[in-house]
Amino acid sequence: MYRYDQYDQALVDARVAEFRDQVARRLANEITEDQFKPLRLMNGLYLQLHAYMLRVAVPYGTLSGTQLRMLAHIARRYDRGYAHFTTRQNIQYNWMKLEETPDLLADLATVEMHAIQTSGNCIRNISSDQFAGAAADELADPRPYAELLRQWSSFHPEFSFLPRKFKIAVIASDTDRAAVQLHDIGLQLVRRDGELGFKVWVGGGMGRTPMIGHVVREFIPARQYLSYCEAILRVYNRFGRRDNIYKARIKILVHELGAEEFIRQVQAEWAEMEPRGLDAPQAEYDRIVAQFAAPDYDRAAPDSLDRSDPDFALWVDQNVHAHKQPGYAIATISLKPVGGIPGDASAAQMDLIADLAERYAHDEIRVTHSQNLVFAHVRKADLYAVWTALNDAGLATPNLDLVTDIIACPGLDYCALANARSIPVAQKIAQRFADLDRQHDIGEIKIKISGCINACGHHHAGHIGILGVDKKGEEAYQLSLGGSGAEDASLAKILGPGFSEAGVVDAVEKVIEAYRAVRSGPRERFLDTYRRLGDAPFKAAVYGAVA
C-alpha cells in the first residue's frame, strides 16, 4: 500500500498545525462559529446530536495494521471505545471533543492518516473496490489511480468551494464493487488497443434526486485522466447550481444541460488544459504503482481447505471469495452481528483485526462501502485460525450479502440531519431473519436503510431500500424495491404508503415471503425476481390484493 514520503507527511503535518491554530483562535473567541464552522468541516469535524463527530479518511478503504491499531487507540483515548465504518469506506467517531481534536489529528498524522476533506463542499475520499489487488476479475489494481486522485484533490485551490460535495470512485473490473455509477465521477480502468485508460461516468448520486451516472467518455488514456477530471470539476465549479442546495450536485447540472452539452463543455474545457501540466509524469505513475505491488505470496501455499468444522464451512461458503493467487483467499469480516449495530467495531475488536492482519493478511485491512471489513490476502491454510479468532470476537457472522447483512446509516440515534432512527430497524429486521437456514433459503438480498433523504445508507441502491421520514412528528418509513449499486445499477422504486417501525419490519418480511412464493426457483435472486415481475406481487403481499 502507499507510504507517505516526506512531502505527503509535511502536508499532513502542516494541516494539523493549521487546525490547531484555528481551534485555538475559536476557543479564544477570536473567530465566530460562523467563521470557524467551514474550517472544522474541512477537517471532517461535525457537530452532531450528542457531541462532535469526526470522520477520518481511509483512502480507498485501505488500512495497515498499525493504522487500525491507531484508530483503536483513538477510540479508547478520545472517544467511548468504539467507532463506525461508513458507506464511503471511512471511519467515524461519535463522541469527540473539539479541544482534543488537534492532538488526535497529530496522533493520526504519525501513522499517515488524516481527516482532510472528509466534509465540506470539496472533493471527498476517493473510494475503490475492497477486493483490489486480489480479485481475479480486475484488469490491474485500481488503487494507484485512486492514490493519484487523492493527491490531485488534496488542497486543490480551485475546487475547495464547490457548489456541493464531490465523490469519486475507481474500479478496475466489470463487476462493480464500488458503485461507480452512483458517484459524481465514476472511473473504470479498461484497456483499448493495448493502452490503459478509463471509462468515465459523471452525474450519479443518491440523496433527494437519485440518478445513475452518464457515460461521458468511453476511453480516456490513463496518462490524461487527471486533466480530464480537472475539466469536469471546472465545468461543475463554474456552472453547478448554487441557488438551491438540493440542486447543487453535478448530477443536476448534467441533467439540466443534457449529457451531450455537458460532454461538449467538458471537452472544450479539457482542450484548454493541455499546456497546464496537470497530468502526472510517467515516473510518478510508476512510483505509485510500485507501492501497490502484489504481496510476497507464499507460492507453496496449499490450495485445499479443511472444511470439517461445519461452522467454519458456513463462514467459508458465505464470507470467503476466490483470490487470483492459488493458495489464497479473500475473507470478509462481518460487522453485522444479528442485533448489533451495522458497521460498528469496538477498540478491542479493531486491535484484534490489526493483529490478525499483520499475522495472516499481509498487513492489510480493507473497508467496504457495505460497512464490513476485508482481509484481501489470506492463505487458505490460515483461514481456520483467522476464523477462530474472529469468531471469538463476534466478527465471524457468516452473512455477507444475506438478509442480515444490512447497511444502515447512524440515523436519528446519532445524526443531526436524520428524521428517523435507522439502526433499530436494521436490528429488528436482522433479528426477524436470524435463522441461518432461512437466510440461506432467501439468498442474496441487500437491504439498505437511510434515516433521511440524504441517503447515506444508500437506500436508493438497495434491493430493499428503507427511508426514514418524519410524519407529523413521528418516525415513519418508506419501502422501496429493486435498487442496485453494482454494474447493473438501478434505482429502487417506492412500493406504496409508508409504515411505522414495526410496520416496516413486517412489510419487509411480507416482501421476502412474496419473493419466495413467486421466484422461478430457489436460485433466482430477489432482485432478479423483482425485475422479472415488477412490484405487483409485492404490493399485493404488503398492501393486500387490488380488487
Binding site: 462559529e33 450528542h50 457531541a51 432512527r421
Partner: protein
C-alpha cells in the same frame, strides 16, 4: 414548556439551561418561558454554546420530556447504546 439547549463549544456536550447555568442533564432543564428568546440571543452572541435552540417539552414526574424524538435522543443518548445514556433512570 420551552427549554433552552445547545452544545458546549469545547466538548460538544449537550447541555440544558437550568435558570442559572448549564447542565448535562435534561432533568435539570427549566422552562425558559417568556425569557427564552432573549436568553437564546444572549447565548448566540457569547459564542460559547453552539447551535443554541429553544425546544418544546412537556413536564413529567421524571423531568421535562421533549416533544420531538430528536430532542429526546439528544437528552438521553443513542437509543441503541443505553450504556451511554446520560440520564439513567
Amino acid at each position: 414548556m420551552r427549554l433552552l439547549t445547545g452544545n458546549i463549544l469545547e466538548t460538544g456536550d449537550v447541555v440544558w439551561w437550568t435558570g442559572h447555568d448549564w447542565s448535562l442533564h435534561l432533568r435539570d432543564a427549566v422552562d425558559v418561558d417568556a425569557d427564552g428568546d432573549a436568553l437564546l440571543a444572549r447565548t448566540l452572541a457569547e459564542e460559547r454554546i453552539n447551535d443554541p435552540a429553544l425546544v418544546a417539552a412537556e413536564p413529567t414526574a421524571d423531568g421535562p420530556r421533549p416533544r420531538t424524538m430528536r430532542e429526546r435522543v439528544r437528552g438521553a443518548g443513542p437509543t441503541v447504546r443505553l450504556d451511554l445514556n446520560r440520564n439513567p433512570a
